[in-house]
Amino acid sequence: MMEHKNSQRTRTVNNLSASYVAEESKLIDLAKGGDRKALAQLVKNYEQTIYNFAFKICRHRDKAENITQETFYSMVKNINQFDNKSKLSTWLYRIVANHCLMLARKEKNRQFVSIDNDDSLYDEKYIADYSRLPTKYTENKELKKILDDAISKLSPDYRMIFLLRDVEGLSTEETAEASELSISAVKSRLHRARAFLRNEITRAFER
């Protein structure tokens, strides 16, 4: 009852078939040996996922493009350090998340809402009618703006956890690994981010 259905794209990355995993493992071994074609194939396999994730964190196409370049530059440079203990995708999420956070720290003038100790997130006044969302919601420009505005208010630390766990469909353990946080820190940030976004979107549709 409580488990979300993963999107098709997320399933593609996070619920890979055994043959795909074996093929990827071969590519990684070849890449470690300096095979440029294998490295190119690994980039092609993940460029869409990484670009999309970077965009979702920074909400800006040019920045997402730069972060994608930096992420794959790190992958190519450090592929020999990848130990095969985790999934390649989790390792890449960790790299892209770090680049996104580094960029966010450089933009010091940005102000975010603090939800670290905000119990009012769970106030019963937020239980409201939620039927105003249009059916074809992500086609709708107005809704896209609402989604952008709401998530932009969250600090990138919270944004990252929400996106890794709920949107990209990583497990709590993988999210902890990719974000270099404890499982309890992931859970705490996740439920606050969910409540915050839900309240923001509800409020926007009440206007």
Binding site: M1, M2, E3, H4, S7, R9, T10, R36, K37, L39, A40, V43, E47, Q48, Y51, N52, F55, K56, R61, A64, E65, T68, Q69, F72, Y73, V76, Y122, D123, E124, Y126, I127, D129, Y130, L133, Y137, T138, L143, K144, L147, I151, F162, L163, R165, D166, V167, T172, K187, L190, H191, R192, R194, A195, L197, R198, I201, T202
Partner: protein, 78 residues
């Protein structure tokens, strides 16, 4: 004795435990509340819908960005 829970606790629970396995007495009590309280059921749905909105909002890597990436990395693009 059955544990009583408030709507506020359910709201927190919904956000904390959505993807978790729930078997503790407290979680069962919360789940029972969720099933019998229209407000909380609606809240749960709204959190799910929020997540779904963000899942469906995706962007495509433009073809020229792909080419720039392969050039930047000095990798063959065949």
């Amino acid at each position: 004795m059955k544990e009583k829970v408030s709507c506020k606790e359910v709201m927190r629970y919904v956000c904390e435990c959505m993807a978790q396995d729930i078997s503790s007495e407290r979680c069962i009590a919360l789940k029972e509340h969720l099933e019998s309280c229209e407000h909380c059921k609606q809240y749960f749905k709204s959190v799910e819908l929020t997540i779904d909105c963000y899942r469906k909002y995706n962007v495509e890597l433009p073809e020229n960005a792909h080419k720039k990436l392969m050039n930047f990395l000095n990798l063959p693009d065949e």
